[in-house]
């Protein structure tokens, strides 16, 4: 890689940081609501991410759902991320929240280790979490405790392994047959 190319990448990487200098209203509202539960609150690319402890996820979600000034009443998405087998903690679960009254967004991030990929479900807070959590379980093997119906959703029930993990090969281990 030539020097010019490296320089450009470095410039690009620093550019979004410069944009995020003025605090977003979500961040201010979070501070005002006393978000002491958040381990780390970052703002990058105009999006706010709060890293939270996995034991507290259900409580935090039900707090955010109704807290005045925040009102994150719609769970837009839950998605898992595998950072790779050599990383610790290995898994991330991202919750993307949206408010249908304030129109702002927030990402909650929970980190999970490979040995103990358990997290409490949020289906009690939003019923839409049901399928999102099933998908994350199916593709990453993250186990959502107290989920009402934790089955595979996209892959067949007798599938071995979790397909979106980094150590799962692109073409699988062997051809899958339905018969």
């Amino acid at each position: 890689m030539d020097i010019e190319r490296q320089q450009q990448i470095a410039e690009q990487a620093s550019a979004p940081a410069a944009q995020g200098q003025h605090q977003s209203p979500v961040l201010t509202a979070l501070r005002r609501a006393g978000a002491d539960w958040a381990g780390e609150v970052l703002e990058a690319f105009g999006e706010v991410t709060a890293v939270v402890a996995r034991e507290q996820i259900a409580e935090i979600c039900s707090f955010l759902k109704t807290a005045p000034g925040l009102e994150f009443n719609l769970l837009a998405d839950v998605c898992g991320v595998d950072r790779g087998p050599e990383e610790d903690p290995r898994f991330e679960v991202n919750y993307h929240l949206f408010s249908t009254t304030k129109f702002h967004r927030l990402r909650l991030k929970v980190l999970l280790t490979e040995d103990d990929p358990h997290i409490h479900t949020v289906t009690g807070v939003w019923r839409t979490a049901n399928w999102h959590e099933r998908e994350t379980f199916d593709l990453f093997g993250v186990i959502f405790d107290n989920h009402p119906d934790l089955r595979r959703i996209l892959l067949p029930e007798d599938w071995q392994g979790h397909a979106l993990r980094k150590d799962f090969p692109l073409r699988g281990y062997e051809p899958y047959s339905l018969t």
Binding site: I9, Q12, T49, V81, R127, W131, R152
Partner: protein, 403 residues
């Protein structure tokens, strides 16, 4: 006369109060793809619905991790195949957000123009198949006649009808062809007449009204709880449209209304989409007026492929072309979630980059996936024939659900 039947066809006497489980699909024509529903019935009444999905799963999210960023665009076409330009836009904008690219004005206007044409096209397929499921055959042909004109316009611009891949990282594949505006204007002149034809065929039709009004009710609170977005949410009286809530690619400069209905039923969702056809047409008209000459690609030689002519005379253009195609371009490490208002609801793209030329993780939050998960709630207590109407009203595409 008695006929002896093989044992599997033997008639079983059921007590009248017992429940029966039947499997609807995966080859049922009105499930819009390969969707299987496990219905528990009490007579004709639905007690429980369990959707079974995954028949079309092709591991697209896994595939993204093995492709360079620019190669991912063609995968997005194949998710929601009725709204491929919307998928292109969501993906491309998420990557552009990571790169911090500025998109030229003309490219943004064309993006809006094409997306709204695509939205009309997607709604027309919904309208035709929804009416067909309920039993009105004629509407289908009227809708596909209009959609053909839109597909011709998309083909003229991109070369592809169903898989255009027209939006690229940093702009467009190429500028609009000569005469596009005239052809688009022609479509716009004819379209209001087509909308009134649809209304004549369906809106005043008593059978259609009685099949849809008061069916598949989901209240505003439940709709939010189930994560519904798009026309399905607006049919429950909540005025949320991401084009307004979190504007992107210049939607804040266009004048359009967000149609809402408060009926919460199949009819309300029908009316919302019918009114959206008109609003989309309004946006297309405004976009045509805004179309001014200018570049359609961002000034980022390391990311955007150079012009063919420039490559023949400039050495650096040739080198950039080679590097982009052979190595790809590095995207700064980070993660973004970019939501857009697709024809079916919120289409969100989550991309996590580790700084290399291939994404570490790409996730698509498909509106069909989430809207379908609310089907059991909407279908509970309805008749079995109404399930077909309810599936039609949430406008699902299985390619996006299964990915």
């Amino acid at each position: 006369m008695s006929v002896s039947l093989p044992p599997q066809f033997e008639v079983v006497d059921r007590p009248l109060d017992s429940q029966m489980t039947i499997s609807m699909g995966p080859q049922h024509p009105s499930t819009h793809g390969v969707l299987r529903l496990e219905l528990v019935l009490d007579g004709e009444m639905i007690v429980k619905t369990t959707p079974d999905i995954g028949y079309l799963h092709t591991g697209m999210e896994k595939l993204f991790e093995y492709k360079k960023y620019q190669q991912g665009i063609v995968i997005t076409d194949r998710m929601d195949y009725l709204n491929p330009l919307g998928n292109n836009l969501a993906y491309v904008m998420a990557v552009e957000k990571l790169l911090g690219l500025e998109i030229p004005e003309r490219a943004q206007v064309i993006r809006v123009l094409m997306c709204e044409l695509q939205r009309i096209g997607s709604h027309l397929v919904w309208l035709g198949t929804h009416a067909l499921d309920i039993g009105a055959m004629t509407v289908f042909f009227y809708c596909f006649r209009e959609r053909e004109k839109i597909l011709n316009l998309i083909e003229a611009a991109s070369g592809g009808r169903l898989t255009p891949s027209y939006f690229r990282i940093g702009g467009l594949m190429m500028d609009l062809p000569a005469g596009f505006e005239r052809r688009c204007q022609q479509f716009l002149n004819d379209f209001p007449k087509a909308i009134s034809e649809f209304h004549t065929l369906l809106t005043g039709n008593t059978i259609f009204q009685r099949r849809t009004q008061g069916v598949g009710i989901i209240s505003a609170e439940d709709a939010i709880d189930w994560g519904l977005t798009g026309p399905s949410l607006r049919g429950s009286g909540i005025a949320v449209d991401i084009r307004r809530a979190n504007p992107y690619t210049g939607y804040e400069n266009y004048d359009f209304e967000i149609p809402i209905e408060t009926g919460c039923d199949v009819w309300a969702r029908y009316m919302v989409r019918m009114r959206e056809l008109k609003e989309s047409q309004k946006i297309v008209v405004q976009a045509l007026e805004r179309l001014k000459p200018g570049p359609v690609k961002a000034d980022a030689p390391k990311v955007v492929l150079p012009d063919r002519e420039a490559m023949k005379v400039h050495m650096d253009a040739l080198i950039h072309h080679f590097l982009i195609v052979a190595e790809g371009f590095n995207v700064p490490a980070g993660e973004v979630y970019h939501p857009i208002e697709a024809s079916k609801g919120e289409l969100g793209v989550y991309i996590k980059s580790d700084g290399g030329p291939k994404p570490a993780r790409v996730h698509f939050r498909g509106p069909s996936f989430v809207n379908l998960s609310a089907l059991p709630h909407m279908a509970e207590g309805e008749m079995i024939a109404d399930v077909v109407a309810i599936i039609g009203s949430i406008d699902i595409v299985l390619g996006e659900i299964d990915r």
